[in-house]
């Protein structure tokens, strides 16, 4: 189990990490998500040992790893640009970590083949890394990271450099690979879909601080604040007063904002609320419909059929599904 406690790292007095804490459970896939510049890569590098924290603690199974140099931590890190060794072929890259562990050559050969098989590149050992496609490089990098059986796998935007369709395909594959080898994974990304697809838990980092850490479902349902809600792509954020106008009673306490999930809005000719349709676009499978409430505020929902712009639409809100927070 990895425990990061209140880690602070400053570059030229600007904190990249500002008391960030995170726990990654054994054999779980934990995503760390944040916009660029939020400190997510710094976090990963600190865990790997490539940056020294100015304050805080990083421990594995309760034992601090701060004094342990990078090469003795036993954590694998896969870089966004893969950082494959250009002077070694595929097998040479994958074998590197095993050679550093002074495994005998038979073991290395066996393990290299095994890992290449695992990532779907059997027989690629003799290929030069310069001849590989982007997806193949990504798999080689993954194989290289996994080969020496790291106790923790750190991935820095591992699909960032690939195109969309390949990304979706590899994402699923990676998840199954991690499950097969029971790896403990910390997965850094800025992409919500990636994080939600692969991770058991998703931590959100903002300005060097972890602002949320939950399962994807709970994060989606109960975002801790408006920023997080917007960041993970939730729509229909409404102020308490606007919701009151819609006949929704805010709960007692300090909550000032509510999120109405699009699926909590049902279009129906008998709906109790009315709005003007300001947009209706086909998005493959369903129409995304924007409902204008006046004063520039809109709600978004989905409809199996398209609506005429400027038409008047009626709808209901399932108030139980609204989540509330302080913004």
């Amino acid at each position: 189990m990895l425990q990061v406690s209140r880690v602070t790292i400053r570059f030229d007095d600007t904190p990249a990490l500002d008391g960030a804490s995170l726990t990654v459970a054994d054999q779980s896939i934990h995503a760390l998500m944040g916009p660029s510049g939020s400190g997510k890569s710094t976090m990963l590098r600190a865990i790997a040992g490539l940056e020294d924290p100015d304050a805080g603690e990083i421990a594995w199974d309760g034992r601090s790893v701060l004094g342990v140099p990078v090469h003795k931590r036993g954590f694998g890190l896969m870089f966004q640009d893969y950082a494959l060794f250009p002077h070694r072929n595929v097998a040479g890259n994958v074998a590197f970590g095993l050679r550093m562990q002074r495994e005998d050559s038979a073991t290395i050969r066996r393990r290299v083949n095994e890992v290449l098989e695992l990532v779907g590149l059997p027989g690629y050992g003799d290929r030069s890394v310069g001849t590989l496609s982007g997806g193949e490089r990504q798999r080689v990098a993954l194989a290289r990271t996994l080969a020496p059986h790291p106790r923790l796998v750190l991935l820095d935007e591992p699909l960032g450099a690939l195109d969309r369709s390949l990304r979706e395909h590899l994402l699923v594959e990676m998840r199954s690979i991690f499950n097969q080898v029971d790896a403990t994974v910390l997965y850094v990304t800025h992409d919500r879909e990636e994080a939600f697809t692969i991770a058991d838990r998703v931590a959100i980092i903002r300005d060097g601080r972890i602002v949320a850490d939950d399962t994807p479902e709970d994060l989606w349902r109960r975002p801790p604040d408006g920023w997080t809600a917007r960041f993970i792509g939730l729509e229909n954020l409404c102020t308490a007063s606007r919701l009151t106008e819609l006949g929704v009673q805010p709960p007692r306490g300090t909550a000032t904002t509510g999120v109405i999930p699009p699926e909590a809005i049902t279009l129906s000719p008998t709906g109790s609320h009315t709005a003007t349709v300001t947009g209706s676009h086909f998005r493959g499978g369903a129409y995304r419909v924007e409902l204008g409430l006046g004063e520039g505020s809109t709600l978004v929902t989905w409809s199996p059929t398209g609506l005429e712009p400027d038409a008047v639409a009626r709808f209901d809100i399932d108030t139980a599904r609204i989540s509330w927070f302080e913004d």
Binding site: A48, G49, L50, P69, V70, H71, K72, R73, G74, F75, G76, L77, F79, D81, A83, L84, F85, P86, H87, F96, G97, M100, Q101, G130, R144, T145, P148, L154
Partner: protein
């Protein structure tokens, strides 16, 4: 980030080497010259300022260096472009040929140029006693610096940037002026600084092609020290030259730092292609024609002369070298001369490569100014007058062990001049070995030492081999700098040429020996050419 302690430790060897074999002798000789009887000889400086001859020498030194640089860059840019962007038959042969002048002995080239530019010139001109002869020779010598220095960067600039500019409506010339040129500027600036440096400190070329009115500080230092025995004036001039050289190197350091900056480069991508249009082919042909005129004509003249005998073209001069028609000591067997040259070249290469590599690691690892200062210091010997270094060795290196008459001084002097070339070849590659690769090795369990051995060294070794070949070529061809060291008599190739040139009747043999030297350095140049992928550094 702070400089790590191991970097400081690694810096000790090159620093000590430089301190003991350069700074200490330099300071000692300047002190001897300028403080002859315990009092500072201000009069020497006054003389430099007031004497019209000295003033004109100083002015001419600057002026010809400036013009040499302008012409070399003007002619080098199209050549750099052609080599960087086009594939054509004989490309690498041509590029190797441009490297040969850089390592030819000035003595021979000077006399050859006399034939090309002097009386009976095939071009019907007589440029003796004009600045033009000097400029042409300097272009001949320094073209390789621009072709390589700029070419290396040019072949790494993503051609798509230029395509993008063209698609935005810029014509070819505007693309060059507004996109390519600004991107190349650091490389042009740093190459220019090097060309300026070599022209500023030119000795052999000026000695052969110059005259009373066309002389440089370097020649004047030599003249004052050896013909007039005026060590005070020579030292004062050496100080003046050193100030100039330091200024040039500071410009160079600034410029080459920018080369390493963030440029939209695609390092492992072959951007060269076959010429497509007739215009492109004509441009390539014109550029190669220009190179042929400047670089290959003198080389060709040299070869033809070595084969020219009263009875027509024959190998007589070569045969004479191997089987002297008479037994006389002035005929140094080429086998012996080559053997002696190698005996000096091997330790020179070992020292230059070892110290250059250590210095390179330090320069890359040391953060901020200290690395740059170190780099500049190591380049100073390139611009220090040979007679100053030679005399410096002689007055300074008698303690703690008397090295003054040691044969090792020759490879050490060669190494001093060659180290900057090793650094120039390796540092860009070391800088381009991304920190990520080293980090990747570390997270895979490699200790810093293992990471260096497994990642840096294999990637840098090719560049180091290039640097070592440069060092080899420099050592094999060097005559000027080492001639001022009292050296044990074992005739190296340039010494043998010098001897043969010093007698009436052995001119043909001198040319034949020069061709042999050219072939050896040519092989080294080919080696450099084949070793440098697109990733290795420039000059």
């Amino acid at each position: 980030m702070r400089t790590k302690p191991w970097v400081l430790l690694l810096a000790v060897v090159p620093a000590l080497f430089l301190a003991y074999f350069f700074v200490y002798p330099l300071i000692t000789i300047l002190y001897t010259g300028l403080v002859p009887d315990g009092r500072f000889a201000t009069s020497a400086f006054v003389e430099i300022v007031t004497d019209p001859t000295m003033r004109s020498v100083a002015w001419f030194t600057l002026w010809q260096a400036f013009l040499s640089t302008v012409f070399t860059v003007a002619l080098g840019l199209p050549a750099a472009y052609v080599f960087a962007r086009y594939r054509f038959p004989g490309r690498s042969l041509f590029r190797s040929l441009t490297l040969i002048p850089f390592v030819l002995p000035t003595l021979v080239v000077g006399v050859t140029f006399l034939a090309v530019l002097g009386p009976g010139s095939p071009f019907g001109i007589d440029l003796r006693g004009t600045i033009w002869a000097i400029l042409i020779a300097h272009v001949f010598y320094n073209l390789a610096i621009v072709i390589r220095g700029v070419g290396v960067l040019w072949e790494q600039i993503d051609p798509h940037i230029e395509d993008a500019a063209r698609s935005l409506g810029a014509g070819r010339w505007r693309v060059f002026r507004e996109v390519t040129l600004p991107l190349l500027k650091p490389a042009i600036l740093s190459s220019s600084a090097l060309v300026f440096l070599f022209s500023f400190t030119s000795f052999g070329v000026i000695l052969i092609l110059g005259d009373l009115h066309h002389s440089t500080l370097e020649v004047e230092i030599w003249r004052q020290a050896t013909a007039f025995l005026r060590l005070d004036l020579a030292s004062a001039l050496a100080v003046l030259q050193l100030v100039g050289v330091t200024a040039i190197l500071l410009v160079y350091g600034k410029a080459s730092k920018r080369t390493a900056g963030e440029l939209p480069l695609r390092p492992s991508f072959e951007v060269a292609r076959r010429p497509r249009t007739a215009g492109e082919r004509a441009f390539i042909a014109a550029t190669l024609g220009m190179l042929g005129l400047i670089v290959i004509t003198p080389i060709g003249v040299l070869i033809v002369r070595s084969l020219n005998t009263p009875s027509g073209l024959s190998l007589t001069h070569y045969v004479n070298l191997f089987n002297p028609p008479r037994s006389s000591a002035i005929f140094v067997s080429p086998v012996d001369a080559i053997g002696n040259s190698l005996r000096f070249a091997i330790p020179a290469v070992v020292i230059a490569a070892g110290i250059g590599l250590m210095a390179g690691v330090v320069i890359v690892s040391a953060k901020g100014r200290s690395g740059r200062i170190f780099d500049t210091m190591l380049m100073l010997p390139l611009g220090t007058s040979a007679v100053t270094i030679g005399f410096g060795f002689l007055v300074a290196l008698d303690q703690p062990v008397d090295l003054r008459a040691s044969a090792m001084l020759i490879p050490i002097a060669h190494a001093l001049v060659a180290i900057p070339f090793v650094i120039r070849s390796t540092v860009p590659v070391m800088e381009s070995v991304q920190r990520r690769l080293r980090e990747a090795a570390a997270v895979l369990g490699a200790s810093p030492r293992q990471a260096w051995r497994e990642v840096d060294f294999p990637l840098v070794s090719r560049a180091l081999a290039v640097g070592a070949l440069f060092a080899f070529a420099i050592s094999i061809g060097e005559f000027g700098a080492t001639s001022f060291i009292a050296r044990p008599s074992s005739s190296t190739i340039p010494v043998a040429i010098f001897r043969l040139l010093g007698r009436p009747g052995t001119f043909g043999e001198a040319m034949a020996m020069a061709v042999i030297l050219m072939v050896i350095t040519g092989i080294a140049a080919m080696g450099i050419e084949s070793m440098r992928g697109t990733r290795s550094g420039g000059v």
